[in-house]
Amino acid sequence: MVDSQQLREYVPVLILAAVAIAFAFGTLALSVVVGKWANRSRRTGHSTRVKDIAYECGMIPVGDGSSRLSVKFYLVAMLFILFDIEVVFLYPWAVVYKSMLVDHANLIFGSMLTFLGILFVGYIYALKKRAFEWKS
C-alpha cells in the first residue's frame, strides 16, 4: 500500500509534534512549580488591578488595545497570498524541470518562461498601481 507507506513517514513527525507540545507545556508547568518553590518565602504572584493593566510606558492606556487597523496591512496580506500561490504553482514545475529537460527541453523552458513572464506582468501591474507603496 502506497498510502500507508507514505503515511508511515509522518509517524516520527507526529511523535516529534507530541514531544514538542509536551516540551512546551512541560516547561511552562515546570516554571510554575519552580517559581512557587523559589519564591515561597516572598509575597509574589498577587495580582493587583494596577499591576495587571497593559503596559504602556507607565501610563494608563486610553482606548482599546486592539482597534481596527489600516487597510494597508490587508493589502500586504493579499499580495502575499497572490505570490505565495504562484510559488506553489512553481513547485511541481521545479521538481520535474530537470527530468523533462532531457526530452522536452524547449517545452519546459518555454512554458516556465511564459509563466514567469505572466507573473512579471502581474508584478509590474501591482507596482504601477502603487500596491507596494507602504506610505500612502
Binding site: 513517514e9 504602556e56 513547485y91 530537470k98 516556465m112 507596494f132
Partner: protein, 411 residues
C-alpha cells in the same frame, strides 16, 4: 539479560552515530518487540533533536552575548562560572522563577497559547533536515515543502501574541511582524525553488546528495552556492531568513527603541523564555535549511576532509551562519517599516524571480559543448543576475532621494 542487551544497543547506537555508520538504531531496536519498534524508533530519532538544539540555544545565547560584547568593545557576561560560561544556566533559572503576569484586559487563553504555538512548529521544522550522512530524522520526499509549511505557522503565533495582549505596542509590533514576515517569505521560498529545480527533488537528502561531488581534484566542492544563481540565491535566502527570524537589521517587530518589545511586551517569565527560545530555534532551522540548500549540507569543503564525521560539518556550517547573524546584529542599524517592505517587494521579489530564470538558463545551457562553454555559462548567469541587481539597487536608492551632501562653513 534484556537490560544488558539494551545498554549494548544503546552504546552501539551512540558509537555508530558518532562514527557516521548507517543503521545506528538496529541493535537497540532488536531489544523491543516488533510491534513497538516504529514508535520506539521515532522516539529515538526525535528526542535528541530537542536536546541538541536546546543545548545549542543555550550556547548560542552565550556566544551572542559574548560576541556582541566583543564587537561592542565590552567583555560580555563573565560573572557566572569561568568566563561566564554558566550564564545560560543562570538565565534559565531566572526565567523559571519569574512571575508570570497576564494583563487584565488580555485574552488569557490565546495569550497563553501563543508561545506554545510558536515553539512547536519551529521544533517540527528540525525533523526534515539531514544532520549527517546517516542522520536524517525523517527522510521525507517533500521535506522542503514540509519545512516551509510548518515555518509559515510561526506568523500565526506572533499575531496571537500581539492581538491577545491588548497592548498597543504589542499590536503595532505584531502587525509589523506579520507584514515583514509574509513579505520576506516569498523571496525565501522562491530562492529555494531555484535549488529544487536544479536538484529535481523536494527531498533535502537528495538535494545534499547532488552537492556531494568535488571538482578540481577534490578541492572545489560542488555546492550550489558556487554558481551564479546559487550565490545570488544564497544571499537572498540569508537576507530573507534574517527577516524571518526577526533579527537585526530586520528586528522592527521588536524594535526595542521604538515599541518597547513589540509583541513580547506583555510576556514575562517562562512564556517569554519560550518565545525567545523559539526565535533562536527558528534561526537554527532556517540556517540549517540554508546549509542544506546552498552549502552542501553535511559535506566537507574538501574531499580529503570527508573522513571527519559528517555531522561536524553540518553543525560547523550552521554555527558559521549563526555567527554571521550575530555579526550582522552587532553592525547594522535598523530599517524603517516602509523601507523594509519596499526592499522586500521592489528588490528581493523581482530579483529572486529573475534568479529562477537564471537557474533555469543555467541548466538549460548545461548541454553546451563548444570550447569555453563553462566560462560562458558562468558569465551569462552572472550578467543575468548582476545587471538587474545594480539597476534595481539604483532604482531603489533613487526613490529614497539619497544624496551626498556638502556643508557650508561660516567664519
Amino acid at each position: 539479560m534484556i537490560i544488558g542487551e539494551f545498554f549494548r544497543g544503546l552504546f552501539l547506537m551512540i558509537w555508530r552515530v558518532a562514527t557516521d555508520q548507517p543503521e545506528a538504531k538496529a541493535d537497540l531496536l532488536a531489544v523491543f518487540p516488533p510491534s513497538a519498534r516504529p514508535v520506539i524508533s521515532a522516539v529515538l530519532t526525535v528526542s535528541p533533536i530537542i536536546g541538541i538544539f536546546a543545548t545549542l540555544f543555550a550556547l548560542t545565547t552565550l556566544l551572542e552575548r559574548k560576541g556582541l560584547g566583543r564587537i561592542q568593545n565590552r567583555l560580555g557576561p563573565n560573572r557566572v562560572g569561568p568566563f561566564g560560561i554558566l550564564q545560560p544556566v543562570a538565565d534559565g533559572l531566572k526565567m523559571l522563577t519569574k512571575e508570570d503576569i497576564i494583563p487584565r484586559s488580555a485574552d488569557a487563553l490565546v495569550h497563553f497559547l501563543a508561545p506554545v504555538v510558536l515553539a512547536v512548529p519551529t521544533i517540527l521544522a528540525f525533523a526534515v533536515l539531514p544532520y549527517g550522512r546517516n542522520l536524517v530524522p525523517v527522510d521525507m520526499d517533500a521535506g522542503i515543502l514540509f519545512f516551509f509549511a510548518v515555518g509559515a505557522s510561526t506568523e500565526l503565533a506572533i499575531f496571537m501574541a500581539g492581538w491577545s495582549s491588548r497592548n498597543k505596542y504589542s499590536l503595532l509590533g505584531a502587525m509589523r511582524a506579520i507584514a515583514q514576515m509574509i513579505s520576506y517569505e516569498i523571496p525565501l521560498i522562491i530562492s529555494s525553488v531555484s535549488v529544487i529545480m536544479i536538484a529535481g527533488s523536494l527531498s533535502p537528502v537528495e538535494i545534499i546528495a547532488q552537492q556531494g561531488r568535488y571538482l578540481a581534484g577534490g578541492f572545489v566542492p560542488h555546492w550550489f552556492v558556487l554558481t551564479p544563481w546559487g550565490l545570488a540565491g544564497f544571499i537572498m535566502f540569508l537576507i530573507a531568513s534574517l527577516a524571518e527570524s526577526n533579527r537585526s537589521p530586520f528586528d522592527i517587530p521588536e524594535a526595542e527603541s521604538e515599541l518597547i518589545a513589540g509583541h513580547l511586551t506583555e510576556y514575562s517569565g517562562f512564556k517569554y523564555a519560550l518565545f525567545f527560545m523559539a526565535e533562536y530555534f527558528g534561526m537554527f532551522a532556517v540556517s540549517g535549511l540554508a546549509v542544506t540548500l546552498f552549502l552542501g549540507g553535511w559535506h566537507a569543503p574538501f574531499e580529503f576532509l570527508e573522513i571527519v564525521p559528517s555531522y561536524v560539518w553540518f553543525f560547523a556550517k550552521l554555527m558559521g551562519l549563526v555567527c554571521l547573524f550575530i555579526w550582522v546584529r552587532g553592525t547594522v542599524p535598523r530599517l524603517r517599516v516602509d523601507q523594509l517592505l519596499n526592499f522586500a517587494w521592489k528588490f528581493m521579489l523581482p530579483l529572486s524571480l529573475l534568479n529562477l530564470v537564471v537557474a533555469a538558463v543555467w541548466h538549460f545551457t548545461a548541454a553546451w559543448e563548444f570550447p569555453g562553454a563553462g566560462l560562458g555559462r558562468w558569465l551569462l548567469g552572472a550578467v543575468m543576475i548582476g545587471v538587474p541587481y545594480v539597476w534595481l539597487g539604483r532604482a531603489l536608492s533613487g526613490s529614497k532621494k539619497i544624496t551626498q551632501r556638502t556643508y557650508r562653513f561660516a567664519d
